[in-house]
Symmetry: C2
Subunit: 219 residues, 2 copies
């Protein structure tokens, strides 16, 4: 995605609300030569950067959308079901079934703070909470579209979860439904293209690869 | 991601090189009230739109990054291995192992054209081709980050594939390695956070859910 500089804004400094996270920094032969700001608001920043990479001597020009990182949580009930929310997603003009998730405002958030955000999103989006004997298991991170954005999500398995006693979902959210699905139903929703967002597909791949799901022979 | 309009550009018309694909259009209660352009180049466009959704009477303001759609291909050899490329990804300042992929320039591309793009990327990025008795199997599509972008990828399984007879990888690409991995190795790379991009995790979830992989009991 090599792109020419198309504004006359000054180089080097980034002015947006979104700063590069610790995971996405120059090191091991990566070097940012210049950074030209195009647009920013509270949620994203667009820059074109000249970057020298480890494998190529000539710097390359690349347009990048910087975003806050996110947490994504797979909530598993004691019965082994997974809780999904159905959310209206304006950029794609559709409501989809997906895992609860939320953005991380503090780019220096440590592991404990990320887990707190995961539990908050679980409460606010799904109205579920971790059981007293429950655990939150880290499944690593992933990049949503590394060809154009530094956005990444930290993945967690929460199990077992149970409904909040007095819980109501946050009315400010775009969530229109919430349900617990058994694993084979989710597998069929994935195969049938009904589940079709990177968060949910990505965490599913990690859950299966890590041996966290007791799937039937059809899996 | 509700965001105020922050430029004085005229509303309604979109002027970028990136138009909405057929998959992302107003219908079934979705209605675009206005669209304010912020930035565009050949690869992305940033707009803030007022959108009425099926579930809420009041329009919401949302900042959206529009991108071309992509094809992603899982190339499987006759021996049942999957071919991955190792690519330098400037937005995340890292080289990662991932499935071959490429953007679709024509937003009206039909299924046949998408398959041709899949085969072209297979040749150019991995220097592999579909065997004479091979088939290209559609695994549906997915959205990389529906909270802020309309970007989506069409997923294909190509099998069996074989090395191109006189093939050389495209020198203009950022690809620094290419290798065939057995399925259990890929599973372990996913579990260990070594494979960490949405394209590869997403197509892996679809391959497993659709019963396309003969994985051992450890899967």
């Amino acid at each position: 995605m090599a792109a020419p500089h198309s504004t006359a804004h000054s180089a080097v400094a980034t002015v947006g609300a979104v700063q590069r996270s610790e995971l996405v920094q120059d090191s091991d032969g990566w070097k940012t030569i210049s950074s030209t700001h195009h647009f920013s608001n509270d949620h994203l920043e667009v820059v074109t950067e000249e970057v020298r990479t480890p494998a190529r001597p000539q710097p390359r020009s690349w347009t990048i959308v910087r975003r806050k990182a996110a947490v994504i949580v797979a909530p598993m009930t004691r019965e082994g079901k997974i809780v999904l929310i159905r959310q209206e997603r304006i950029p794609i003009r559709a409501a989809i079934w997906e895992m609860p998730s939320g953005q991380i405002d503090d780019r220096n958030a440590d592991d404990d703070e990320m887990k707190q955000i995961a539990l908050r999103e679980l409460r606010e989006e799904a109205s579920y909470q971790l059981a007293k004997d429950g655990e939150l298991i880290s499944l690593g991170h992933y990049f949503s579209s590394p060809g154009f954005t530094d956005e990444h999500g930290y993945l967690f398995l929460a199990r077992p979860v149970e409904p909040c006693p007095h819980g109501e979902r946050d009315e400010g959210e775009s969530i229109i439904d919430c349900r617990a699905f058994n694993l084979d139903k989710i597998r069929r929703m994935i195969a049938a293209n009904e589940i079709r967002d990177a968060n949910t597909l990505g965490i599913w791949a990690r859950l299966i690869a890590g041996g966290h799901l007791a799937l039937g022979s059809g899996a």
